[in-house]
Structures are given as structure tokens and as C-alpha cells.
């Protein structure tokens, strides 16, 4: 299900002095536009892997939480998808945010293991130093950025 463009109060948007807090929709937009499922031609949003309702951000508390739903319960790409989401958010959000990415409960056979991996900061950093893995992640993130 694809969500339409945000219907803003455009005058506020244009107003220099009005601060726009970071909200769920903004995070969702970051994720939906430019991450591909490596096995599908469609984006994660189109596949309902990421949905706006499963995105929670607290601007004041500096926390972001994203639940994602793999396409099938034993999807082997779950870790990769999770990692791509995490990387995307790391690259797109201010440093102050603590980013939590995990699988929607009950939708994957190895969700505990995957979640543990994604939550582990050192493991994520180490993974991203692996150029092969980074290559694959970048490939996921590369495509729609061109067309946006």
C-alpha cells in the first residue's frame, strides 16, 4: 500500500520560524522511497515490509523504533533488510538518535536471533566494515535514490 504525498499545511512548511518536529511519517518517507528488497523489483514500502504504523519516533527522547515484516517467515534476507534499514537511518538522521530496528513479532522464524544482531552496535559496525556486505547493502540503497 503506498501512501500519497504528505498533505502539509504548506504555509507552515514555508515559514522559517515554525519548527517541524521529526515525526513517524518523516522516518517512513526516508525508508520507503529508496530501499529495495534485494530479491524483488519492488520497494520495501510497496511490499509492506515497512509500514508507517510500525514506525515510532520520539524527537524529544531521541529514539527511533522501526518494526519490519519480512515477506515470508523464513526469508533469508531478513538480516540484510534489517541492516539496510538501519544503515539508511544512520545516514539520514542526526547523530543524537538511538536507532532500534527489529522484526515485527511473530513474523519470522529466527526473529530473536536477527533482532539480537541488529541491536548489537559493535556487530553492526563490524559488519559494515566488511566490504562485500557493504556492497550488498549499498546496492539495496542505491536504486531509487537516482529516480527521486
Amino acid at each position: 500500500m503506498s501512501v500519497g504525498t504528505r498533505l502539509e499545511n504548506t504555509t507552515e512548511d514555508e515559514d522559517e520560524d515554525v519548527a517541524d518536529p521529526i515525526d513517524d511519517r518523516e522516518i517512513f518517507d526516508i525508508l520507503s522511497v529508496s530501499i529495495n528488497d534485494p530479491e524483488h523489483p519492488l520497494s520495501l514500502e510497496e511490499l509492506n515490509v515497512v509500514e508507517q504504523v510500525r514506525v515510532r519516533v520520539d524527537d524529544q527522547e531521541n529514539t527511533v523504533g522501526v518494526e519490519f515484516t519480512p515477506t515470508i517467515p523464513h526469508c533469508s534476507m531478513a538480516t540484510l533488510i534489517g541492516l539496510s534499514i538501519k544503515v539508511k537511518l544512520l545516514r539520514s538522521l542526526p547523530e543524537r538518535f538511538k536507532i532500534d530496528v527489529h522484526i515485527t513479532p511473530g513474523t519470522h522464524t529466527s526473529e530473536d536471533a536477527v533482532n539480537k544482531q541488529l541491536a548489537d552496535k559493535e556487530r553492526v559496525a563490524a559488519a559494515l566494515e566488511n566490504s562485500q556486505l557493504l556492497e550488498v547493502v549499498n546496492q539495496c540503497l542505491i536504486s531509487n535514490a537516482r529516480t527521486s
Binding site: 519548527a19 518523516e26 545516514r91 538522521l93 543524537r96 547493502v137 549499498n138 542505491i142 535514490a145 527521486s148
Partner: protein, 855 residues
Amino acid sequence: MHKYSKMSFIFFALELKAGQFTILQLVEALGLHLTSSQPQTRGRGVQLLSNVLQECYGDLTEREVEVLIVFYENRLKDHYVITPHVIQGLKALVSLKLMLPPGSAVSILKSLFQDIHVQVNTPNLPRQVVTLIDYFSHPTELKGLGADFVFGFVQSVDGERDPRNLLLAFHIARKIVHEGYDLGKFTEELFEVTSCYFPIDFSPPANDPHGITQEELVLALRVVLTGTPRFAEFLLPLIIEKLDSDVQSAKLDSLQTLTACASVYEQKDLAQFLPGLWASLRREVFQTASERVESAGLAAVGTLTACLSRSVLNSDSEDSLNVFLELVLKDCQHHLCEPDLKLVWPSAKLLQATSTASYRASHRVAAAVLPSLIEQYNSRTQVSHTIQLGRSIIVNVGVRLTFLTVGHDLISLPMADVYRTEPFPLLFPEPMAQGDSATPSQEHSQQAVRQRCVAALAAVSSRPSLVQESTPVLLQVLTSAHTGMCHCHMLFCHCLASRAVSLFLDGDVSFLPENAFPAQIQLLKVRFQCDSRSQSQMVCLLMGCVCWLPRTVEVPQMDRLLLELLELSCTCDHPLSYTSAAKCYAGLVNKSPAGEALDSLIDRTLKRISTELDSASSPVRTQAFTLLLWVRPHNLTHRSNPVCLSKLFSLLSDPELGWLAADGFSLLMSDSPDVLNRGSHADVRMMYRQRFFTENSAKLVEGFNAAVQEKKSGYLKALSHIVNNLPRQVQLTELPALLPLLLEALLCPDQGVQVSTLSCLQPVLLDPPSALITQLEVLVGRTLALTTSPTMKVRIASLRCIHALSRFPEHEVRLWPALVLRALAAPLDDHKRVVRSEAAVARNEWFLLGSPGGR
């Protein structure tokens, strides 16, 4: 005798004032007179007393006043001959106001009502009585008595049969009602005691000595009944009831009373009675046997509508006008289309009555009714009855009325200027668009119809406000109709042109009847009065009119018009006015045929402009500059062109006008929607912008290099305007030459310059020529610096440029990602969402650079 008595009262008055005796002693002394068996004698006695009172009332004591009042009240019961004198005396006493014993006012009045008899022998008496009562209306004390007074009055009038007294009573009731006496809880009683006589049915006896007519009584009563909205809840049901009567005069009276009260009531008074009133009114018009009743009914409908239209509504209150019109439309509308013509006329009349009452009503009714009427007119072959019908629906919108004469016969169709574009397509597309593949005879008649439509539209469009509405429609018709200009179109344009010109030059408002124009309006003159602005602003309407005419239509009095416009644009101090005048002038000049006349005109204009501009102390430099900006010849080969442009360039460093001049370049390069574009039939040269740029860019660069530091931004601004408006291809080819300036522009503190430079650069960066690639370091540095600008637009534009920079050849950019990524971390937390999203996009792109799996 007369003289003697006059002297005597003066004597007595003086003596009284001197304290020789009291008033009561005088009364005693007059005892013989006052108790005489002869009324005349008694009268004289009272007269003397009253005369003295008139002189001395100020000197009386309270006790004396009390006694005298009682005495006079009793005298009211006396013979009619005495009454005038009694009144006179009472008047004097009453004027004491505050000294009146409490309750005496009421008792006097009561006695008055009960005992007075209006006689033909004393013609002034009613007037005297009324003035006496008048006296009573002054003291606030009386009004303070309020309800008691009303009660007293009600009691005394109750059961009165004598028409003379009734007339008097109605007069008094009118005063009570109109002067806002506090009716208190006696409102209904007051109403009852007067309304029981409604409707008046009085046949004066033959040889009636009093001469009171039914008419008098009816009118006097009506004034009372309709005098206050507090009676509404009683009066309206009464009217509805009496409308049911079989007696025609009763019906008439009811209708006329309804009309009278509707003009003072408000919608809240009428709201709950609308269905009942409408049912009766409709019946009276639909089933009428009398023309008088019918017209009274229609008048009532009209005033009712007007009353409902007047009201101011709250946000949550119901619109009674709507409710009422719904009722009317429901019952009348469908009759208009029925083949059975019996109810067509009454329905039409009712609709007419409502729609002539107010703007709002006319709008509503016509919007509901006109479409089906027009459909009928278009579809029926036998048009006679529709013509009549159309004639009957005349919409009178208060003071303004425009009639439209179309067709073979005289159909009067309403054209209220309340309408906007709605009625035009409705009325005109059919006849105007027809005529493609018809037989010759059909085509001829369609032509004729179309011609008439156009003429009619011309007549309607003679008002500037309507012109603005009708012009788009007409242009639409013109473009969709024949390609060639046929005669009727020319007719219209000519008509329009001459009317507009005569209005603006000569103040000729003859074609705008029924408007409250000030005498001798001069729309093109500058006047130093408070209303000068509003009048001179009208020139923008003139511009809309004459500058959009096809070139083949000659504008009358062109020379004079140009002269006036020139004057206005150079002297007026109101920006909208002088700008519009300049635009209008330019539009007309542009369409003028080339030749010596045009050349000398332009020369003169430029001379005038130069004079003002060159004089630093001139108060109208801005105006002159505006004119220069608009008049610059689009025809680039005109010999005055270089002069014009060099003037503009030189103004870039002018202390007063420099910034205006820089912004003016944006105007030079872009299309104005008002004038000088293809749509308005202007003469626009092809490839104007490229040529402008090619011929002038060198000069700009030169000027920039030569200018002092503070003035440089003006040149940059002008340049960025020019470059921004160039077609893409030209931008790309010209860029190398301009690059130094553009990079310089990125350092300019002016935010407008920053934004326009960035937005100009961005598309070029996506596919950068080598000249740009060599400047990568500079570009990165300067665009990153701008990401911290206080202006949102600048931040966004610079982020977009940074995004675009990531497209540069890999070997060039590989040194930069670390720096850029670090610098872009801050904009990710910008307080504006749009900035954040640009930053995220750009940053992600830069991450992919030089990263495995990235680009």
C-alpha cells in the same frame, strides 16, 4: 371683551407673581364663573385660569399643583366648549414635570381618554390633545411608569366604540409603541385592545359631521400594529387568520399590514411563521379574483423577502431567507415548465416579486430558474410563451439594472452584475458555437442570432467590471469560432474600445446608468485627495481592456490617451496606479504601427524619462524608472534601444534605484501576464531573451568588474535574473564565460542573489562542462557554506547543489566525501523538514560515492 380678558389675565399673572395672592385664591374668586350654569361662562373662567397658569406655573407649590390637577381633571368631564381651555391649563401643569405628584400623569391621561370628545366645532382639539400627550413623553418619569401607564391606557380604551375616540386612541397607542415605552407584561394586552378592531370595518353614516373615514382608521391602526417587533408573535397569526376572510377589504388590509410590518421586522420575528404566511400568500396570488389583492400579495412577498435578506446571521443560525425561497421555489418553479399555462403567470410573478427584493434573493432565484428557462428557450420552436415568460422575470438588483436585448422579439433577460461567469456560458455558447454545417438558410438565421448575441454582450460589457468577466468568454468564443475575424466580432471590439476610452478620457458614464458616480470623474488624472487612489487605480482596468484588443482594432483618441497615460505614470504617487499606467502605455506603444510617428513618440518618452532620472532630486524617479522598464522596446532593432539599455545598466550603480534596477532585469527577461505577451496580441520578438543576453552580457561583466565592492551585488543580481531566464541550452553554452561571476555571486551576501545563482547552477551541475569540473573545490566550499544560511530557501538550494556535485566524475570527487559527510551532519537536524529531507538525500548520495556497491 376679548381685549379686556386678555388684559385681565396679565394683571392677575403679575399680581400672582408679586405674591399678592395665590392661585387657589384666584380659583375661589372665579367661583361664580366656574360654577355658572352657562357653559360659555364656565369656559371663560377656565380660560382665564389657564392663561394665568401659563404665565405662572413655575411659581406654584406642590399642593397647589395637586389641587389644580384634580380640578382640571374634573373639568374634562365638562361641556365640550370648555375642553380646549382645560387642555391648555393641563399643558401648563404638565410642563412642570418633576413637580407633578406621582400618579397624576397617569390619572390625567386616563381622564383624557375617558372623557374627551372630539368635536367638529373645535377642530384643533385633537391636535391639542396629542400635543398634551407629547408633553408626557418627555419626562422620563412617565416612561418609568411604563407598564402602569400602558395598563391605564389599555383600560381606558377597552370597549371604545366611538370612531373619534378610537382615532385618538390609535394616535396615543402609536406614541406608546414608537417611543419605546416599556410595555412590560402588558404587551399582549396592548395588542389585544388595539387589534380587536382589525381589520377595520367602518361605514361612516351619511352626513357624518365628524368626517372620519375608514381609510384614516385603517392607517392609524396599522401604524400601531406594525410599530414594534414585540407584536410580531401576535400580529402574524392574526394576519394569517384574517387573510382567510372572504371580505376583500379584509384581505387587502391584511396584506398591506403584512407589507408594512415586514419592513420593520427582522428575520427572527418572521421565521416561525414563514410556512403559514407563504401558504396564504400563494393562495392569494394563485387563486386571485382581484388585481388589487394580487398586487398587494406580491408586494407583501417582496417586502418579506427583503426583510429576510437584510438580516445578519450567526454562524449557527438558520438562514430564513433560504427557507423561504425554498418554499417559494418548490411551489412555483415547476409551473414554469408545464405545458398547462394556467399557473405560469402567477408563478412567474411570485418569483419576480422575490427576486426583485434583494441581491441575495435574486441570485438564488435566478440561479435556480434561469437554466431551465434558457433550456426551454433553446429547445422550443414555438417561443412565444417563453418570450413572455422571460419578460416577466425581471431581476431588479436594487439600484442597478442592465437589460439585454436579444433575439427576434424583445426578450428582456436579466443581467444582474451579481453574476460572475456563470450566466455567460449558459446563455451564449449555443448560439455562438453553432453554425458549422447547416443549410444556408439555417446558417443565415444562426448568424443573425449570433450577431445579436455579440451585440448584446457588447452592451452588457460596457461596464468595466463586467468586461473582466465577459472578455475571457468572448476570447474563448473567438478562438473556437471562425479563424477569420468576422464582422460581428469586430463590432464588439470596437464597441468595447470606444466605450472604455470615452470613460477614461472624458468621464463618460452614460452607458453606466443608475450608478452613484461623483460628478465629472477623471480617471486618468492625479488628484491629491483622499479618494485619488481608488480612482486612479482604475487604470488597470483600462489596461485589461485596450491592451488586449487585436491589432486590427483601432483604439480611438490614441494620441490623447497616450498623453494622459504618460502624465499619470510620471506623476502619480500610488504604485499600483503608476505601474498600471506605465504598462498600459507600453502595451499601446508596442502595438502602434512602426514609422516616424512612433519613433518620435518613443523619443519624447525617453527624453521625459531621462530628465527625471538624471535629476537626483526629482520626486518621481521611481515612476520614471518604472516607465522605462516597461517601455523598453521589444523591437531590438529600434534605434532607441541602446540608449534605453545603457540607461538601465547605468542605474545599477545608482544609490537610490540600484536595487530596483537589478530586480528590473527579471522583468525584462520574463513574460508579464498583463501586457506585452502573445496572448494580448503584442509584438514579441522571437528569441528575445537569447539576443538580449548575447548582446548585453559582456557589458554586464564589464560593469561588474568596474564597480566598487558595494555595488557589485546589483550586477550579480541582474546577471542571475538574466541567466535564470535563459533556455537551458543557452545557459550551458554561455556558462564558461559567466562562471567567475556566478562563483562570485555565491559569496554575495544578498540572499536573493544566492538563491537565484544556486538554482541556476544546479541543473548545470548535473551534467557539468569541464569548466565547472575544474572549479569543484570552490563549488564544494561555497555551497557547503551556504547550508548554514538563515534563509530556508538558500539552505535548500545549496543542498540540492551539493547533491548534484556528487555526480561529478569519480576521480574528481573522491577526495571530498569525508568532508562533505561531516558538513552535512548538521543540516540533518535542521528545524525545517524540507531542509532535512534534502540533506538526507544529498548525504546518502555522498555515502555511496567511493563506497563498495556504490556508484
